[in-house]
Amino acid sequence: MSKKIKDKILFWSFLAPALFSFVLVVVVTFFMGVYYSMTDWTAIAGVEPQWVGLKNYMNMFADIAFQYSFIRTFLFTILSCVIINMVALCLAFLVIREIPLKNFYRAGFFIPNLIGGLVLGYIWQFIFKNIVPAIGGLLGIEAIENLLILAYPNLTLFGLIFAFTWQYAGYIMMIYIAALLNVPQELTEASEIDGANFWQKLWNVTFPMIAQAFTITSFLTLVNSFKQFDIIVALTNGGPADIYKGVVVNSTELLAVHIYDVAFKFNNMAQGQAMAIVFFLVLSGFSLAQVYYNKKREVEM
């Protein structure tokens, strides 16, 4: 056997396992998905899907529940992105100081990240339903005692953001800590000598130096908020109901949950698949734009 052929065999045999699984599970299914989204696919074995063109997409944009879900998902994504990053940055500043037990605090803030979204959702459901009223009773504040957080659409959304922040801020904090430790001390000292106050130092020295971390953290929080599924399923299961344009909708049924429900609860697989395609297009457009914008800022500074 010539060396060239031998090299080729070696090349493909090293690539085969990863490539085979990836192509089968992601690439093939992706194209199947694009095709199914333009048919009346039902996922019933033996029923051949019929081509319907863009009908599913047209229906989707006319669907009020979908419009509502879209708006709520944006709201949730932007709020969580801002809140998680702010909390994480504050935590990073707090535990980067030379204080006793700082590693202990860091680990403590990080640990919720190990708890899966589903398990975490049940913990917070219990807290919102039972613990919050109990705290109200303990403090003797009737308003808190009678507060049913999970009964109001907007409060529930904040509840979700709160639970998600609890899970995710510790991880984002770790990324900020790593970035802050890389800021050269001389720079901040030099600015101090030049008479910069705390905020000037933060804004003009520290933030530009950790711009790369901002790109990463905002990408991660953005993508993970947009795709949020597990916490919602366990914490609210889509509820409580809200009214939008005269139609009853589920107030925390964000896109990922909505897609799942359309496909399984309403048995409309093709419609769910079309929504998933739009979900993908929006998410990738959104996140690529974000990375592009932040990268540009990194270079400028």
Partner: protein
């Protein structure tokens, strides 16, 4: 001035402690309430349990619960996680090494193909995946849904893009001379990979195992589709779902189940804490 700084410093430390307690509060809630009976929780979910021995009773009940099947669920979760991690890290390293060391149009194309997988969310491919697994069974007779090999194959496919990307970045920085020296000394390609490259890649292996491990262990959506809720093979999140879905008001047992679900991974964390934090941070920066 010095006085003012000290006041600020002390109050910031106090704030840190306060936030730390706040972050730990949900764990505290879970622990005290898994040592109570249903009624005790309704009366006061904030009180200390009357008898801590109740926790043992609750743990026994969850252990033997027919929808949680704790021992078998932990086992299934472990098989799936360990199987997937071994396969993902080994196969991705092999693929990435070949892609870096072969300069050709095919290899550039394949690398870009893997990269494109990074932006595809699971939601787009999840329904077709179930369909594909059913078709595979129809055509070849090999069952894929509700099997270990089926779900592990799915995890390899979804885990490969990020892992290949990270290995690729790292292998590029390994000088080619090391491999050439090994070849001159008579190493075959296989030997070069396993005896020279794999040991150098150790830190990246750690990062990949940790990032993927936390994801796979806690994942709910993929196993709920590929394995199904309430089937023979169930992971811990599926077990929690099967249980909490049916006993929505039995908070004492739900809290116990939640605690038992969290224990394996938290214990693991306490053992390899340094590696986990380092691995997750370097993973995000790459």
């Amino acid at each position: 001035m010095v006085q003012k700084r000290r006041v600020i410093s002390i109050s910031l430390t106090a704030l840190t402690v306060l936030l730390f307690l706040l972050a730990m509060f949900p764990f505290f809630v879970v622990i005290i309430n898994s040592a109570k009976e249903s009624l005790e929780i309704i009366v006061n979910p904030l009180s200390m349990p009357k008898q801590w021995s109740q926790m043992w009773e609750n743990v026994k009940e969850i252990w033997n619960n027919p929808s949680i099947r704790y021992p078998s669920s932990v086992m299934s979760s472990a098989i799936i996680t360990i199987g997937s991690l071994t396969a993902i890290s080994l196969f991705s390293a092999m693929a990435a090494w070949m892609l870096v060391r072969t300069k050709s149009r095919t290899s550039t194309f394949l690398f870009l193909l893997f990269l494109s997988g990074l932006i595809i969310p699971f939601q787009v491919v999840m329904f077709p995946l179930v369909e594909l697994f059913r078709i595979i069974r129809e055509v070849t007779g090999i069952p894929m849904l509700r099997t270990y090999h089926g779900i592990i194959l799915a995890y390899i496919g979804f885990g490969a893009p990020l892992s290949v990307f990270m290995f690729h970045g790292f292998i590029k920085s390994i000088p080619l001379e090391i491999e050439e020296a090994a070849t001159i000394d008579g190493c075959s390609k296989l030997q070069t990979f396993f005896c020279i490259i794999v040991p150098i890649l150790k830190p990246i292996f750690m990062t990949i195992i940790i990032l993927n491990g936390i994801w796979i262990w806690n994942d709910f959506l993929l196993p709920s589709l590929v394995l199904g809720v309430g089937q023979d093979i169930q992971t811990i999140p599926l077990a929690i779902r099967a249980f909490a879905g049916s006993f929505l008001k039995k908070w004492d047992l739900i809290m116990t189940a939640v605690m038992m679900a969290a224990i394996p991974i938290v214990v693991m964390f306490l053992f390899v804490q340094k590696h986990i934090i380092k691995g997750m941070v370097s993973g995000s920066i790459k």
